[in-house]
Assembly symmetry: C2
Homo-oligomer: 144 residues x 2
DNA sequence: TTATATGTAACTACGATGGTTTCACTTGTT
DNA sequence: AACAAGTGAAACCATCGTAGTTACATATAA
């Protein structure tokens, strides 16, 4: 199974904000993502708590990037919206009367932590600015 | 969110099989994992399809490793039991009328594929034999 | 022949996710 | 001052995947 779509939508939102020079309302963002404004606001709340975006209430309000787009890595985004580790462990504790059951969780945790760190290290190599550049490059290529 | 516990349980099963020199019945494995035999048999079916274990029916039957424990990497196990990519994309297609909406999925796919490859590369560095050695080392250390 | 297994289908319970509606509150504009 | 355009947050619902469980047909060693 895969993680939720929150990461994908969060990157979408941030890339959109990076391409704008004024606060964008949740309704506009929802139009681009293809969902409804309340959902976007929920996710933006998480991103705001993580210090990635800031919001303005009232008319002409909306969300904008809290930092420069080239200082926000996809790892930052991932950690903001995805709390658990991507590789799950046992649902219940294994049998402590068995050697493998007793020691497997510790051994597995070491492995999965390392694997996830490798993945996040990879995500850290891309920023929101990079994503926007990538999107613009693709759009140019498609137009030709 | 995280993946299912299938990977963790599968590694548990395989480590257990690596420590045995005869076929183990699902009931015994279930006792070590802390769940019920039918669940174990379901998972073993997947591992058998992937060519990691083989099973024998009837009395004195059970599951055993199909290959040497030092030739089964955790990446093999991961791919056998976890079909989807770990990082999900959008639930529905974004709005193609918006540049970001139109291009973000392609850009994201490139990123997430690379990130998952990095994670799997990391998992490939450990084998079931390594897991068993790790478990045995931990058990020795605990006894002291 | 019997005990011990697997393989598989069917069903339930539960939690996370995405989606939706609604309402109080804030703020720029006229 | 009134209004329009926003956010923030709560309360739901539907859906889906997972884990768990039971049951039974089938296979096989002793």
């Amino acid at each position: 199974m895969s993680t939720s779509s929150r990461f994908a939508v969060a990157v979408h939102i941030l890339t959109l904000l990076a391409s704008a020079d004024e606060p964008l309302p949740s309704s506009l963002i929802a139009g681009s993502v293809g969902t409804n404004p309340a959902l976007i606001r929920r996710l933006i709340g998480v991103l705001a708590q993580a210090g990635l975006v800031c919001t303005a209430m009232g008319a002409a309000g909306g969300a904008s990037l809290a930092r420069a787009a080239n200082t926000i890595t996809l790892r930052d985004v991932f950690r903001a919206v995805e709390s658990d580790s991507v590789i799950g462990l046992h649902a219940g504790a294994p049998n402590p009367a068995c050697m493998v059951g007793r020691e497997i969780t510790g051994a597995l945790t070491r492995i999965t932590d390392r694997a996830q760190a490798a993945m996040e290290e990879n995500l850290a190599q891309t920023t929101i600015a990079g994503m926007l550049a990538d999107v613009e490059r693709s759009a140019r290529a498609r137009r030709r």
